[in-house]
Amino acid sequence: MNALNNLLLHFAEWLDAQGWSSGLHESYYMYNWVESTHVLTLMIFLGMLFVIDLRMLGLALTNVPASKIAARLNVPMMIGFTIMFITGLLLFYAVPVRTTQSIWFRIKFVLLIAAGVNAWLFHRRMNESVSTWDNDPVAPKRLRYAAGLSLALWAGVVTTGRLIAYDWYDCYRVNSDLIAWAAGCMAE
């Protein structure tokens, strides 16, 4: 784990040493526009995801076949996700060292992977069974759980993403061993 943290820190320091990284961070308009675009595309991506998940839970647009909602909203959702992901990478690139050692960023990263796996399983299960329940107002139990889990995971991603801005557990502070380990703080 220590070796991995060391490797990540060296990579972050290498990024930080690049002129474009500090240039982006220090550009008031560019950095803020990238961050604004990140939040605005979150509205597109997460907004579409909310509608799809609420349909699966039987809470919205129950008179429209579930597969139709999922298929038709998938394109704008993925456009939103792609721009959100690119702007997210740029935000990381602008502040690589602090972000690499942020416990919130690390939790967010794990939640993102979990949300991705859940989405993949959800689509696989939906495609396997959708012909039997497509017009039902509520999806089968397994898919409802997956939709609920999706909402919970993305709520976690948004919350931890927001918490990255706070320095409560930054490495320069006195943290418990567990926090310092999870944040990947390295001894000076």
């Binding site: 939040v39 509205m43 597109i44 991506f45 997460l46 919205a60 909203l73």
Partner: protein, 158 residues
């Protein structure tokens, strides 16, 4: 009319003090605000993109708009509630922020537009409404809610 005393009162109120004192609670309020903004974005986009014939073209537009409006109301209520909580903790700073007043203007415009123009129009059978009117309403709605989100984000930078 002088609004500064109102903002000063908000900051010293119990709500303002909770947000000021407990950073974790304030951050969760911010996250809920973002999630309600995302939900609002989803309902607005689904409605307006349907009216523009971009998504769900094979679903009647009144089915989509009626289904999405219910969750729009939930989103806007959450957005206002969490927004008041967030603003209360930094109310005096908000008083001096041009972006805050820009967002409030955009939000008020958005709410008036939805409940005084968009909904009354869309409650009628869509087949009876001129297609250009539906598209104009959708474009106006997208522009207004984009302004709400963009000006809101820039409050944090000002």
């Amino acid at each position: 009319m002088e609004f500064l005393p109102v903002f000063e009162w908000m900051e010293t109120s119990a709500l303002g003090q909770i947000g000021k004192t407990y950073g974790g609670v304030y951050a969760i309020g911010q996250s809920l605000h973002l999630m309600s903004l995302a939900l609002l974005g989803g309902t607005v986009l689904v409605t307006d993109l349907r009216l523009l014939n971009v998504v769900l073209r094979d679903v009647p537009s009144d089915v989509v708009t009626n289904g999405a409006h219910r969750w729009f109301k939930v989103a806007v209520t959450m957005l206002i509630a969490t927004g008041i909580f967030m603003a209360a903790a930094v109310a005096v700073r908000m008083y001096y922020s041009a972006f805050f007043f820009a967002k409030m203007t955009a939000l008020a415009t958005g709410i008036i537009f939805v409940f005084a123009v968009k909904r009354p129009l869309l409650k009628r059978p869509h087949a009876e409404i001129h297609p250009l009117a539906l598209k104009a309403v959708a474009i106006a709605s997208l522009l207004i809610w984009f302004s709400v989100a963009a000006t809101g984000r820039w409050i944090g930078f000002s």
